[in-house]
Every structure is written in structure tokens, then in C-alpha cells.
Amino acid sequence: MLLNMGPQHPSTHGVFRMVLWVDGEKIVDVEPHIGYLHRGSEKLCEGEQYHQVITLFDRLDYVANFNNELVYCQAVEKLMGLDVPERAEYIRVILCELNRIASHLLYVGTIGLDAGAMTPTMFAFRGRERIQALFEAVSGARMMHNYFRIGGVKEDLPGNFEQMMGELLPLLREDVEESDRILTFNEIFLSRLKDVGTISAEDAVDFGFTGPCLRGCGIEYDVRRAQPYSIYDRFDFDIPVGLDGDCWDRHWVRVQEMYESLKIVDQALEQMPAGEVVSSLGRRLIRPPAGEVYVRAENPRGEIGVHLISNGTDRPYRLKIRPPSFCNLSAIKHLLRNSWIADSVVILGSLDIVLGEVDR
């Protein structure tokens, strides 16, 4: 039987479509269809000035906005040879790690829903909501921040930031623990996720897996450690790795990463210096020299890469994005074959794709 799953299906995480060939409840073959959310971001980037492109990057992976902004800003900064003030770097790292937690909390909620539990969503969204309230206080928007600037950030943190963080962090730790407690080791959840959607480490590398999906296979690869960008070499954090490369390991890695992110935020808050937050560039028009640059960073979903070609004008000549979700999704055919229909939902959920990024 040919079963059309999506684009209007509650658990395809947006507008993803899978055409499943099923034999009873077993999936024989699958053909993924993407492109329902194609907005031509890469082409749009060519028509926007450098400072306007940031708004487009907000909308790529729309649950990890700060991380996207960061990688783009770093690309332009590298092209221009621009130094970012220390304080701005710390602000960026704190916000990015908080965003990573928010993104992973969203993941915990959706995997819970995919597996059939409603409550983890509510628990996880409570934490995410707290983070977003902080983002609103800092950047003025809950999701589409447009806060990072080429050479710094838009403006300094609000005066009561320290106090807000002091209130937020213990609550956040509690939220993370709760969403962990209600789901991770629940027996039914375990039996749904363990040994489902298993992928070997070699296959994962061949498919171009990055991020938690790759680490779930037991490969300790994290751009923050492998090729430290920004100021990530100053923090002490662990890289959790899984064992079998199945859905549950991917889940576990994400949950552990939230604790690690909390560690990084703690350290960054301690080390944060005072000072300027915008580079000397000021408000001048950004016109990087002709040339090309490739920059990568660790997004919640994996390694995001930006290949930026400039021809010396005020707009990028070409901007190619390597979206982590897209590369992780490419293995869907491999993962879904010979699984159950119910598993397809969980496997897709454990890859944690964001269609805004897949389709661009």
C-alpha cells in the first residue's frame, strides 16, 4: 500500500512529505519529498545588503536563531578580518547556548508528542518560554531577534541581565531535569526508541551526519571542540556521545547536551568582561573585500556551514548554506526501511529536522 505521509501530517515536523510503501504496518520503501517550505533564502541573500542578510538567517532554522546569526556574522567578519569585542563574544556565546537549550527542549517536547506523550511538551515548553522571555528582554523579539551584528551585537545587555540570569538558570536546570525525568528512562519510551532507527558510525559519516545525530553513533565530533570558533576554547564542557546510534541515543545525547550548555553559560557569565559590544566598524556600510570564505559552527542540529563569496559590493555575490538538518535528513530512506509505521514518526523526530532549514 502506498501511504502518503505529509505534508499535512501532525508529526512530519512542518511540511515534509514522505511517500511510504507499506506492507501492513511495515515500511518497505520510502521516498522523501522536500521543498514545501522553499523560500529561496540563498538567492534572497544575494539581493540583500550584508546587514539585512541577518534577518534571513533568523528564519533558516527558526528554533535556533542566534546560532544561525552567529555563523553568518562570523563569515562576514572573517572575510573582513574584523575583530569582535570580548564582551560581544561572551554575549553571543551565552545567547547561543541558551538557544541550544531552547531548541533541545523543543526537541524533547516533539519527540514526546511523536511517541504519544503529551505532557513532556508542556514541561519542555515552560523552560523554552522562560528562555524566550529572556531573549525578548535582550533583543526585543522572542524568535526573530536580528540581534547579532557584523562585528558585535546590536546593543549591550539590559541592566538587569545578571539578575534575570540568576533567576533563570536554576529554574531552567529544573525544567531540563524534569523533561529528562518524565521521558528519558520511561520504560515505554525506551522500548519505543531503543534499537529503532539504528545507523552505524560509518554510515552516519557517509551520509554527512553532524551534531547530536552523529554523536549518538559514538563519534565524538563537535565543531565547538574540533575547530573552536568564537571563544569556545575557553570553556570546559564535555561532549556526550551515544553507543548504538539509535533514536534513544540521539535523544540521550541531546538531553546531556542541555546540561553541558548550562555549564558553558555558567562559565561564560563568570568570565564576562565589561566593555564595548560593537566593533569600531560602527554604522558604516559593510563592504567586504572580494574573496570567499567558508565558516562552520555547531548548531543544535549539527554543523552549519556558510560559504560566502563577495565581489566587493555591498551585497553577497553568492551565499551557500550547508544546513545540518538537510544532511541528517538525507539518511531517512536508509533509516526507515524495514521499520514500522509508528517508528517512522519517532525516527523523523529523533533526527530533529527543521524544515525552514531543509528547504531554505
Binding site: D58, E136, A137, K154, P158, I182, F185, E187
Partner: protein, 190 residues
């Protein structure tokens, strides 16, 4: 079943308000406060001292808007001819299609005249597709409301005051340094 039982205890605990408070906000009846930096829809500010908009219709925001959601035109300022205003040009016509606006705040950043702000207005849904095309009076209304509610001070004035304060502090430090130290140190400070 131990972990299942743990999970059940957690959800049970949620049931009692005393243990864990519900997070629901009764939104439309109890308005949710926004943060001071909240970026709602852009609006134009009103110069109370003169009685005209700050905006001169210079079009810089329009050129910088990523979505091209605004349009404007400028005219000679009648108040300037009367000598009441220092602005030679003033905005004649201004329209923002708020449905296209992505609330990025770039217009506010690039404005040289403190003329545009991100207001705290966010409840503006309408039933018509073009129902959120707002013109100059409407934008000024939103802006005035924002100015009153947040006791708005033009950012350039703030920056000036800050710079003056810093300069004064520097000067004071320099004076302190020069008074007690040698002339060379004083020279360095100046």
C-alpha cells in the same frame, strides 16, 4: 516500572498548585506585559516641542528595509518657513504595510532623526488582507502612544548625554591626574 512511577509522581505533583504553579496566562483578559526592548510594529515619533513629526522623509529606512514594506515622500516644511522648526524638509506621506514588516528593527537603527521606533503595539490583526497598511496619522498615533507609555527620550539625545557624561568623567579624571601629577601626565591626558 520504576521510572514510569517516577514520571507519574511528577505529573501528579503538577496537579497541586502548591507544589508546582500552573504557567497559564489568561492572555486576552489579562494582558501579558512586554519587555522594555520589545520590538512591536514600527511607528513614527512626534516632536512635541515643535508639534510635528521627527521624520523628514529622508528615505533611509525605506532603502534599508529588507522587505520593502514602507514608502514615503518628503515636502518643504511649512513650519520651517515660519521659523518655528529647524527641519527644512518634513515627511509628507508615509505608509507601512505592517503585514509585510518582519519587525527586524533595522529601520530604527539606520534612522538619523530619531523618527521611527519599534512600538509595543502587537495586537493589530485585521480581517482584510491589506488591513494593516497604516498611513502617517495612524503611525504617529501609535508612536505617540509609545512615547507616552515609555517616557521616550530620543536616542540621539540619550547618546549625547551619555557621551557628555563620559567626557565629563574623563575630564574629571584627567584633572585629578594633572592636579597631583607632573605636567607631562596632564599633557598625556589632554
Amino acid at each position: 516500572m520504576l521510572n514510569s512511577v517516577k514520571g507519574m509522581m511528577l505529573t501528579l505533583a503538577s496537579t497541586f498548585t502548591g507544589l508546582r504553579k500552573p504557567v497559564t496566562r489568561q492572555y486576552p483578559t489579562v494582558p501579558t506585559p512586554v519587555q522594555p526592548r520589545f520590538m512591536g510594529f514600527p511607528a513614527l515619533t512626534w516632536d512635541d516641542g515643535v508639534g510635528e513629526p521627527y521624520c523628514t522623509g529622508c528615505m533611509v529606512c525605506i532603502r534599508n528595509c529588507p522587505t520593502q514594506c514602507m514608502s514615503a515622500s518628503m515636502m518643504d516644511n511649512p513650519l520651517n518657513e515660519e521659523g518655528k522648526s529647524s527641519r527644512r524638509k518634513i515627511v509628507d506621506y508615509f505608509e507601512i504595510n505592517l503585514n509585510r514588516c518582519i519587525l527586524c528593527g533595522i529601520c530604527v537603527e539606520v534612522c538619523n532623526f530619531d523618527a521611527i521606533v519599534m512600538s509595543h503595539e502587537h495586537e493589530m490583526s485585521t480581517y482584510q488582507r491589506n488591513g494593516d497598511r497604516v498611513d502617517l496619522p495612524a503611525l504617529l498615533d501609535i508612536g505617540k502612544k509609545y512615547q507616552v507609555n515609555t517616557a521616550w527620550i530620543p536616542p540621539t539625545v540619550l547618546a549625547k548625554a551619555k557621551k557628555e557624561a563620559e567626557d565629563a568623567a574623563k575630564a574629571a579624571a584627567a584633572a585629578e591626574a594633572s592636579s597631583g601629577e607632573t605636567a607631562a601626565a596632564g599633557q598625556e591626558a589632554t
